[in-house]
Symmetry: D2
Subunit: 337 residues, 4 copies
């Protein structure tokens, strides 16, 4: 941590700042310039309160040098984390492909789609039972019944299931029923929910909030890991920008950035990022080329009749074609599907 004093601070004032810093268990080093004096704090600065120091009347600015995330930080855990989820690995040599409809609608629908995506090589089934919708008047999902249908589809196909949780009241149920618990973008900073899922042993798929920085995303992973659950899978799904042609702007740079900052696996959701089925294939390929550990793709047998997110869903035959392409791209990265 670096404390920059206001211009022309005199020796007496510098002493007063140093006195205030002495309460923390860190060493410091003073650089006096002609106009500006800089104090470097060294040692474990995680207990130092940056905001408090900022309010000191002689302090101009406080800059943080160390990254504030610990358990998710690659510096302290250089090897890639491989998350085991329902018997499959995420973050290893094999890319994870999570496919399925936005919403679970009926037993034949979810089982039919699950069979289809399994045959094309998907490794996980996704499907929404509890749906976060902008409007209270929109379809909110089949809820508990949806979970049962997902379990039936898992039994039929062997695919582990991934589905979103919205309420801390359901954590026990999700822990018992699903293979990967998804935290949606809107709940990325629902700290209460993060703490609750941090107490389970289930892998957590943590979507990036549409307006959250990479650092905030890793801090939310930190909330889960601080609770004892180290099985966090990060998922880039587009950020909010001024561009409205696509629903959000898929930030593929975040993939190599996260791989460098953190040891956690990172996957990409081109369906929600763009909101357009015709953009799924090019961006899924680009995600693999950028180094993602997998993709999550919305597949619906009849997009025009889907109860939600139809415009971005692709059909099972289109999904099968994408899988063929992704396989070739994965091979160039030394990976398999």
């Amino acid at each position: 941590m670096i404390v920059i004093l206001k211009p022309h601070t005199d020796d007496g004032q510098i002493s007063r700042v140093l006195d205030a810093l002495k309460q923390y268990d860190v060493a410091f080093n003073v650089s006096k310039g002609e106009t500006v004096t800089v104090i470097g704090l060294v040692g474990d600065t995680s207990a130092v309160d940056r905001e408090k120091i900022s309010t000191n009347p002689f302090v101009e600015r406080v800059m943080i040098v160390s990254e504030p995330f610990k358990k998710s930080n690659r510096k302290f855990h250089p090897e890639n984390t491989v998350v085991n989820a329902g018997g499959r690995e995420i973050g290893g040599r094999t890319l994870a492909v999570i496919a399925g409809p936005c919403s679970v609608e009926t037993r034949p629908q979810i089982i039919g789609i699950a069979e289809a995506v399994r045959q094309s090589g998907a490794s996980f089934l996704r499907g929404g039972a509890f749906k976060p919708r902008t409007s209270p008047y929109a379809f909110q999902g089949l809820e508990a019944e949806g979970l049962e249908l997902l379990k039936a589809a898992r039994e039929q196909t062997g695919l582990p299931i991934v589905t979103e949780i919205m309420s801390p009241k359901l954590v026990e149920r999700f822990d018992a029923d699903v293979d990967v618990i998804q935290i949606g973008a809107r709940n990325m900073q629902n700290f209460d929910l993060l703490k609750e899922v941090g107490r389970t042993k289930k892998p957590i798929l943590l979507k990036r909030g549409a307006a959250n920085t990479v650092e905030e995303w890793l801090m939310s992973a930190e909330y889960i890991m601080a609770g004892g659950n180290s099985g966090v899978i990060l998922c880039e799904r587009g950020i909010r920008t001024f561009e409205t042609y696509t629903r959000n702007t898929l930030d593929l740079s975040a993939v190599p950035v996260v791989k460098r900052l953190s040891h956690l696996p990172v996957i990409v959701d081109p369906s929600h990022a763009t909101g357009a089925s015709w953009l799924v294939a090019p961006l899924a390929k680009a995600a693999v080329a950028a180094g993602a550990d997998g993709v999550i793709i919305e597949v619906h047998d009849d997009p025009a009749r889907a109860l939600c997110d139809g415009p971005q869903s692709i059909t099972p035959p289109a999904f099968a074609e994408i899988m063929v392409q992704l396989k070739a791209y994965a091979a160039l990265e030394g990976r398999t599907l």
Copy 2:
């Protein structure tokens, strides 16, 4: 709702789109141009699924004409809503001034600040008991004990209390203990929490999410109102932009925009928007000039020792000065403090 067909769609294709639309109970009107055909849906289109129609292969785009919010919409409720909160009104002629520290820290701290802001004319006391912090390692608030201290401060000063809820598990307790339940910016689309507070009778202070549009904000108000709770107070607190000089960018245009779109009261939080104490006074005055129904201001007796958000807190004497200025601005708007 307006459905724009792809260029050069022929009569047979137009018929097929019309057939698909006939399932909804709306009238429609077809405008055939040289290249583009447009179908206008008229009547109550709230049950029409925009996304489904978008996936029709002959449809280029679907545009929404009516605003999707109903209960919060000024069109259906032309008069201003005045929310009664702990015996005070928000949204009427008198501006609401909510003041207090970021976090409740100790009994003398919260009572001392409450007394001070009451003497300067504040109408509500704010203070965080449960704190949403980006880092799991940062101070998370005094929690239940904080609520008790707020109640003690209310008893001492008579000021109604405003504090943030983060967990649906605490709704009953907040309903019993506090006067205004705050939903923080990060939880603006925590739909589970919105539904829970919608079942109480307590006024809800709904902060705008840092990356949410005015329309999404009103849709979140709609979630609360759809549950039967019409006492929603909107609070603009800055949006996330590329500009990093201020913590967020205070969107004061949102004040007159919301007043036009909705009948709900809207207040402004210059402290969180800017993150800098020296910006509070000019932006609080600007908020009143733009037509806000009140402001929420962080006040701390010793900002340099505050457990959170010190840099944006002002002292009680600085608050007293701002109140004098706001009074003059309020008068120009025909309002009182």
Copy 3:
């Protein structure tokens, strides 16, 4: 400037970084922590190339402490700059009110509007002769003829004229003909044009680019001032964000921020920021309350027939009403109109 080395850099590596820094004429001070070493550069670091140092293999990050703008910096010029423009002052006790149509259209139009706004108390006439339009097929302004009409309106009313320049080829002509040369938001980083107008003696109204930070804006002012022209007036006109309800998001925080960082006058353009006539009055008042040195407002005698920007133009009677309100707000700030 502060240079942060990579974690676990050893003494030999630190020496190599120091060797590389010795080429610059600055002192430095090394703080060695347990994991991270920090080097503070003190003295005049303006000649130190931050980017070069960043590429050193042992360097993690380089942070800048001093602000990169000099001539526009309040630290080196504590008093407010008052710009004299056509006999009127901008930045002094009297607020500047610049009013007029988006485009100059006809002689009676521009003279009629000029007369009307002068009677209501405007201090400058604005009007576009050369128009920056997104589409090459849209009306591009009356060009040279527009300048002549502005001069005629000035002769008739005595109001100094403000108009936008788009081409360096016209600098000589603008220098001869107009009182304030406007650089539009899209040209804020047209460095070629900035250099050219920096060689004139005419006041320059520099609009903030819709996607530019306050620092970049001040650096563009620096381009003009580095050429010898110190008469720069800054104009906040909204930044580009995800919110689409208003055309741009007016960043009123920028007003007190710029007043703190710089000695240059800053005015606000609520018309272009919002794109809606009904938002002009509340935001013009808010601008004055936030400390602006003036406003620029689009006025058209017949907005429905305006050749551009009709939706955001107000009529002369509406302008007269706003002036009455602004006068009262100005008085609260100890200023006059």
Copy 4:
């Protein structure tokens, strides 16, 4: 174009709106709903002034159905445009790889880099002679001398040269000297410059502005094409968002989006988008996977000594490695390098 009237507009008011519309040479069709009436304008609406209609007191909103770009629109020109630049094609089966330093510095530097990138398979040499720098105190390029050095490097290696123009005064010279004239991101809406280069016959590399939508970008291409120059190459180089980890956010979705909307070739600049050399390889591969027609990559023989943009430059050996990888990715897309 669709005109939505205000709620409860009566027949007389509708007639008045229709009268106002009759001045345009378009047909229209009225859809009267219970609360809202909608008027569809059909035919060639390019001459209809959307803004004027918006100001009609009975009009709520005007929506545009047709895209405003014509010459760059794929609807009117379904085949891909292949631009011939200095004897090489851009937009055809072979991907364009434009490589070279940020700035031309010395004769040996530019010739050495040109030789190196040619040997690795680059098809064009880039290098800045006139540099757009945020600070007037930063190195501004070798200017005319830089152009001469580029020409020398072309003569030596046979590589066509790409360099940025900043001033309309230099159009003639660039037209004579260079193979592809680059318009930088900051000048994307410098309409004066766009018009000037539109009068040349040289291919124009048009970078997307950091805060410009895809539609605005195509409108700027339209400015060039409207002048008679159809050889426009679009270049995505990152947009400005709240995320600060990378310099800008590379918007790879823009590649398939532009390919769908327009027939023009589109290439990607991962160096400027990210500002970090270690991000160039993953994002260059992702760009090819997303369907780009080429990439532009900064290469410097000694990034630590580069006069600008060192942190994002890669060395010639690193470039050679990337070329090997890109070749494999290109093959998967049915393309060659």
